[in-house]
């Protein structure tokens, strides 16, 4: 059998600590960050019956991170009796968004067509964002299930962004940028975002400038949001795995550097 090298040990170590921690189910508490609180307060401040567009702008690969984020957000919006319009600007987000929306709607006894509608996917996201600013029924003559837009009671008075309280883009990439550049800049619609952790720094300048109204993200953001709405979900549990993985990586960096500096001292600083 081939001898295991350091890389294999590192892989095995990561696998082991994540599995053990998940099995142990340790309860970790965490401070809620101001940005997550801001998003929570924003949703909380919307009047009952306000219509919000939730755009599933993500791909399937990021689902383990997106799912807890989306579920926490949808649970909060449904619990506040907001009317939701679900759309997807990336094809892969279409089916996922529909499942997540119907799942949470069922939890809160919401009725399709009255409390929420899922319009589905529209190709060419820039064109879709711009054309919804002119006319949502022209952009989506039918919903995801094939019913006419005009048949839904909830959509009778929704023509364009003027009738929408805000857009929340659930994204794993740069699609929220297009919502800001075209939706917010051109049509003054209030854009917020729920994004993966890797994308958060990308949107920091937009959040600081006020072009992005609110933002939270990552597994930590999902866990914080779950804490705020008082409903436990997969965010907190996944955060546990992420935390131990982070500690593991921090330790690996420290050990790697100790070995490096010891080796350098031994070589007289030549390496």
């Amino acid at each position: 059998m081939k001898r295991l090298n350091s890389r294999h040990w590192i892989f095995s170590g990561l696998f082991a600590i994540v599995v053990i921690t998940m099995a142990a189910n340790v309860n970790l508490d965490m401070r809620v960050s101001p940005e997550t609180e801001r998003m929570f307060n924003y949703i909380d401040s919307l009047p009952t019956g306000a219509t919000v567009i939730v755009s599933f702008d993500h791909e399937a690969s990021s689902l383990p991170e997106i799912r807890p984020i989306a579920l926490a957000l949808l649970r909060h919006t449904f619990s506040r009796d907001l009317n939701l319009i679900g759309i997807a600007l990336l094809a892969e987000g279409t089916g996922i968004g529909y499942r997540l929306m119907t799942q949470t709607a069922d939890e809160y006894d919401k009725t399709y067509g009255i409390d929420y509608v899922y319009l589905g996917f529209k190709p060419q996201y820039i064109a879709a964002i711009l054309s919804m600013g002119e006319s949502i029924p022209d952009t989506y003559p039918e919903d995801y299930l094939g019913y006419a837009y005009r048949d839904h009671e909830m959509l009778q008075n929704i023509k364009n962004y003027n009738d929408i309280a805000g857009v929340i883009s659930i994204a794993d990439g740069s699609l929220t940028t297009h919502w800001i550049e075209y939706g917010a800049s051109r049509y003054n619609v209030k854009v917020s975002a729920a994004v993966t952790a890797a994308m958060m720094t990308t949107y920091d300048p937009y959040l600081a400038s006020g072009q992005l109204h609110a933002m939270f993200g990552g597994l930590r953001g999902a866990a914080e949001y779950e804490k705020l709405i008082g409903i436990g979900g997969s965010g907190k549990r996944s955060m546990l795995a992420q935390s131990v993985a982070h500690i593991y990586v921090v330790l690996l960096i420290i050990v790697g550097n100790i070995i490096y500096f010891r080796g350098r001292r031994k070589d007289g600083g030549s390496s």
Partner: protein, 207 residues
């Protein structure tokens, strides 16, 4: 002559769409809507077709050469099966298409993405060394961010979280802003160069 016609079309549509974007005139707005709802979608459908044809051609020629034959056959079967399922049973609810998407595509993509965690762990041990002052700064920022983005309240001192927030809110944001402004200005100048015919590389060579 062909290049000249393409350039004229590019200028006409570039200038027209630019004007339509900023105009609030009802005619301009309805024309803008028609372009966005109908024409962009038609162009998108055609580009998709070009992509599919190219994908099939490349894979078929590689299969003939025996280059990664099993993988390429699976790719082509996947390409054929998904539309067939969608055409016969639709793409909604509990259709076979959605089953394939949820139980084949989603787990496969998530798995590939999850593998990154293992490579990051390995790379952090083998490559993330404080070899120079800039590397040490990068390393410190990474350690601060990793620690602060874990749920270790009560274990990790508060100043580490505050330091990580400072890094994210100041140097990181400043760099990001500079990049975004640079991209914006670059996009603007490139678009103007293309519309005005100064930039012609998109037309290909003269041959």
């Amino acid at each position: 002559m062909g290049r000249r016609i393409a350039q004229i079309i590019c200028f006409a549509f570039g200038a027209l769409l630019f004007a339509l974007y900023f105009s609030q005139h009802p005619t301009a707005r309805s024309l803008n809507t028609a372009v966005m709802i109908d024409y962009w979608q038609i162009i998108f459908a055609i580009t998709l077709l070009v992509g599919v044809i190219s994908f099939v051609r490349i894979n078929l020629s590689n299969i003939r050469r025996g280059d990664n034959r099993p993988y390429r056959i699976i790719s082509l079967v996947g390409l054929a099966v998904m539309p067939i399922l969608a055409i016969i049973w639709g793409i909604k609810g509990n259709s076979p298409f959605m089953w394939m998407f949820e139980y084949v595509q989603v787990p496969m993509q998530s798995t590939v993405f999850a593998l990154l965690a293992f490579f990051v762990a390995s790379a952090s041990f083998r490559g993330f060394r404080a070899r120079s002052a800039p590397a040490a700064v990068l390393l410190t920022a990474a350690l601060l961010t990793l620690t602060s983005r874990s749920s270790l309240e009560g274990i990790v001192p508060q100043f580490i979280t505050e330091a990580a927030d400072w890094v994210r809110g100041n140097p990181s944001m400043a760099a990001r802003r500079a990049i975004l402004i640079g991209i914006g200005l670059g996009s603007l100048t490139t678009s103007l160069r293309v519309i005005l015919g100064i930039e012609r590389t998109w037309l290909g060579s003269d041959k």
